[in-house]
Symmetry: C2
Subunit: 200 residues, 2 copies
């Protein structure tokens, strides 16, 4: 009995290890700077260790205390883009097909520091991702599809289905608009500076 329990335990451990190895092969091995989908068309998540090293386009903050306690996103929005897509944008002032914009939400932490009163970043609190993909969103404005990998602390969801149009796209459509390729570039001076340089 003791022996068979030990054998079952060993088999269990080795099964878990095989499982982990397969997971590694399926996900970690592929290029996270391009959109990766599950068999049923959901977007696979991006490891924060990966996207946090991408180029950060900017970081607005819309705190609850400035929105009667009811901000739509009461956090800092740290927006990242992979290096390859940013290099393209800097050449053409256009987001290339396959662009991923990752927006990590970061709670307001301290509101007072030696440098003064204001807003300082606290805990990571969610991941929203926009992907420009002609093959997945041929009819979507600018071919952008929007995904939510949960609003809450990490770990974020492993995969996400595209959001219905009303949740994200319609706001980007009416407020960012086609002239900005539906991206809120006007709040991101880094993006504006890159585009201005191309147009010179």
């Amino acid at each position: 009995m003791k022996k068979s329990t030990a054998a079952m335990f060993a088999a269990g451990v080795s099964g878990v290890m095989v499982g982990l190895a397969m997971l590694g092969a399926a996900d970690g091995g592929s290029d996270q700077t391009k959109p990766r989908y599950t068999a049923d068309g959901k977007l696979k998540t991006i490891d924060p260790e990966v996207f946090r090293d991408w180029v950060q386009l900017g970081t607005p903050v819309t705190p609850n205390d400035q929105n009667n306690g009811e901000a739509a996103f009461p956090e800092f929005h740290a927006v990242y883009v992979p290096q390859w897509a940013w290099a393209e944008y800097k050449k053409t002032a256009k987001w290339p097909d396959g662009t991923i914009l990752a927006k990590e939400l970061i709670k307001v932490g301290d509101k007072k520091a030696p440098s003064g009163a204001g807003y300082f970043e606290g805990e990571f609190n969610g991941l929203d991702v926009a992907v420009k993909d002609k093959s997945k969103g041929p009819e979507a404005p600018g071919n952008w599809l929007y995904y939510n990998f949960n609003h809450g602390k990490p770990p974020y969801a492993a995969e996400a289905a595209a959001q219905p149009k009303a949740n994200c796209s319609s706001c980007h459509e009416s407020n960012a608009g086609p002239e900005a390729d539906f991206v809120f570039s006007r709040y991101y001076p880094k993006v504006k500076a890159a585009a201005a340089k191309v147009k010179k």
Copy 2:
């Protein structure tokens, strides 16, 4: 007379071109991810096109309207570190010798957007740089020296002398402290997460 004017003009143009080429060889050719000094020991500037593509550690904001109109830095502080130094930090939780921390100041622009009320980035407005360099600051706390490439819109100053201790180092010394290597990491969750991972 016409001919000699044309000749002088041509000589002038070619002189300017030679001058520009020499400038390129002296500055643009070297690696801006490591500190570069002038013959008289000033720190050479870093091209915004270069440091804006480094890893952005975080972006607090201390607006005037939260500081009775008199914030010490009334801007967003976008803090960047070169990829090589960040890779080292993620391995060791220590800033290696030669680390450059570039802090670009970005004015508050819009305070209202479709996502709510808050603070959105406006115009670039200054560059402060901290460099950890044992050879230049053997007596400085953590070997950090601090430089100000002007507080105002780009282009930033081409070179800067190290700031007197009272202007920067003394605040980092008493408020960030030796346990944080004199860096305000506690306001940068990305840095905290990286350090926590090393210590696990």
